[in-house]
């Protein structure tokens, strides 16, 4: 990997260059919550002033720019009892600035499912390759447990990655387009001092992480499959599916076809879903493979921490705790994992 440092004014100038030709998505402060804490969201911005790179976390993840809530898979037009299919992929390139390591790791996890396995998704790959990613280090967010699931650092999955060194950024460059972009503004080779400042900043961040004891979670998930912990937490779940909507790694969906009023066209759309919603595993005729909330909640955790780990060596969850913050019933991974862990040691 190549490294450079760039003064903050110069970096701002780079954002201006991005803005002059393409859409730029970045963390934007949109509100304050009832405790007076700022609320951020990844949104299109039109000037550098709208960007707040010091944000703690966002309510929704940036997943929506890769897996939109609704996406047309194909359209059909009808004529004389016959039909024709049309498929379009999103081709417009854009910049996504200010992703935290957990969110970049989340994209790497999605890549495993959507870009490398059987049947790579052209919809996803098209969006992924057309997105230039600038990541940034940050102080650990409240409630997050990214370190416990190994998602607090990244070595790839971005074009540029920034670490704040006060007046300048330490930049890791991970692609030729990242290299070329950075060279549009003034940057310089890293010095011994830069390296030391960088290591110091990293150590500072590492210290801020809270420890969540996660040992052998995949195995624990298996053993605690019948645990009462699931019933206790399941009883609270509203089955609303918000957790999956805000989660940067949840990717499941349903399909719906909409016919135009004049019956000449229809659109086949995928709509992101959630395994906590009642009819997730229901089949025609009324049989439901996961009829109750506890089973569905358990399944969500089981897939995140055991099933995915079995297939891809690491859990799917990146520990951002967005689901925990979004849940009206107060269901959150740190508490559930702690309960399971305790159950396991009794």
């Amino acid at each position: 990997m190549l490294f450079r440092t760039v003064l903050k004014e110069e970096f701002n100038r780079l954002i201006d260059i991005f803005l002059s030709s393409h859409e730029v998505i970045a963390p934007k402060r949109i509100d304050v919550d009832r405790d007076g804490k700022p609320v951020h969201q990844f949104l299109p911005v039109s000037s550098i002033d709208e960007i707040d790179l010091g944000y703690e976390t966002t309510e929704y993840s940036a997943k929506t720019y890769f897996l939109p809530f609704k996406e047309t898979l194909s359209s059909f037009c009808y004529e004389d009892g016959d039909w024709e299919q049309e498929i379009k992929y999103r081709l417009m390139p854009r910049f996504l600035v200010g992703l935290h390591p957990c969110d970049i790791n989340a994209l790497l996890k999605l890549d495993k499912v959507l870009a490398r396995d059987y049947f790579p998704s052209p919809y996803y790959i098209s969006r992924r390759k057309n997105t230039f990613i600038v990541g940034i280090d940050h102080e650990p967010c409240e409630g997050g447990f990214c370190r416990a699931v190994g998602a607090d650092t990244v070595t790839h999955g971005f074009d540029l990655f920034l670490t704040d060194l006060g007046d300048r950024y330490f930049v890791a460059i991970n692609s030729d387009r990242g290299y070329n972009a950075l060279n549009r503004v003034q940057c310089r080779e890293v010095t011994e001092q830069d390296n030391q400042d960088y290591l110091h900043a990293r150590a500072q961040i590492a210290q801020g992480h809270k420890d969540l004891p996660i040992h052998n979670l995949p195995n624990l998930m298996d053993i605690e499959f019948e645990s009462p912990v699931w019933d206790q937490w399941g009883a609270k779940c509203l089955g609303c599916g918000s957790c999956a909507q805000v989660c940067p790694t949840c990717y499941c969906y349903g399909v719906k076809e909409d016919v135009s009023m004049d019956h000449t066209r229809s659109e086949k759309k995928k709509i992101l879903y959630s395994c906590c919603i009642k009819d997730f595993a229901e089949v025609a005729g009324g049989h439901n493979f996961r009829p109750d909330r506890a089973t569905r909640l358990k399944y969500r955790y089981y897939h995140q921490h055991r099933g995915f780990a079995e297939s891809y060596e690491s859990p799917m969850c990146v520990g951002c705790n967005r689901c925990g913050r979004a849940c009206l019933a107060g269901i959150n991974p740190p508490d559930i994992i702690r309960d399971l862990q305790e159950e396991g040691t009794v």
């Binding site: 991005f18 030709s21 393409h22 898979l73 194909s74 059909f76 009892g81 016959d82 039909w83 299919q85 498929i87 992929y89 081709l91 390139p93 854009r94 910049f95 499912v113 059987y118 049947f119 790579p120 998704s121 052209p122 790959i125 098209s126 390759k129 057309n130 230039f132 387009r177 070329n180 972009a181 549009r184 298996d222 990717y251 499941c252 969906y253 349903g254 399909v255 719906k256 076809e257 229809s266 086949k268 995928k270 879903y273 395994c275 997730f280 595993a281 229901e282 089949v283 025609a284 005729g285 493979f289 996961r290 399944y299 089981y302 897939h303 055991r306 099933g307 995915f308 079995e310 297939s311």
Partner: protein, 302 residues
Amino acid sequence: MKHVLEPYDITRESEMLAPLDYNRRSRLKDTDRIYPAEIINVIRLTEMEKLFQVRIIDDTDRERFTFLPGQFVMLEVPGYGEVPISISSSLSHKGFIELCIRRVGLVTNVLHKTKRGSKVGIRGPFGTHFPMDKMRGNNILLIAGGLGLAPLRAPIFHVIENRSYYKDVYILYGAKETNLLLFNYQYEEWERIADINLRVIAEEGDANWTGEIGLITDLLDDIQVDPGSTSAIVCGPPVMFKFVCSRLTEMGIPMHRMFVSLERRMHCGMGKCCRCNIGSTYTCLDGPVFDYWSVLNLKEAI
């Protein structure tokens, strides 16, 4: 000056990805491409089930379309939706495939109203298959309950067309009522031409029924096979294959030579929508055909 970012156009991507096993091919840009197809004939089987003969319209695509027994297709009815359906015909049939469909919901009901000549679409084939090659030299038990006979027909045809590969072949078929029996016009052919021991049983008989009455497991009571060289394929609802497979285990047939086909909700067939997922296993990719030992190891599979 050039833009910082040049668009990446996936439609220009032409690389054929590494060939996939089980006949499943996927060209990067073609994963959602549907083969236009025509329903060339509709055969009414019972009140609830019809058999559709479906032909891929494009000659090259039709020629290239191959599958293995146990695989399924996604059948698209544009404007209504897409449903996974097992291929219920012989591999050697190049002209069309047969799909036996029960009407239960939106798409399947629309299909039951369609007539010859209607234009639908096909994606696939998808999923794993019954390993017919590995069963060579074995006695074969083909066991179906209810609609399970639909996916079982592909292996049945395979056995018939390669009869010398297999020793004794049994088809055991059970249905709730006698008027729900599927494909009864083929029974005689299977028995007389293919030298298959066919046993049909119904839970409730009627005035004209001269056959056996009881449960599918009853048929296993008096079957004498050498368990060491016997393979079984069991298709039907979970309760049924659970009972049947435990009986087969008692008879001494090893679990890795019993094959079942699982059913789950499916929206893509490609391991993307996650609806068919059981813990870590996609039914559409790693299944629908599993050996029984794998099924026992899947949490919440039965």
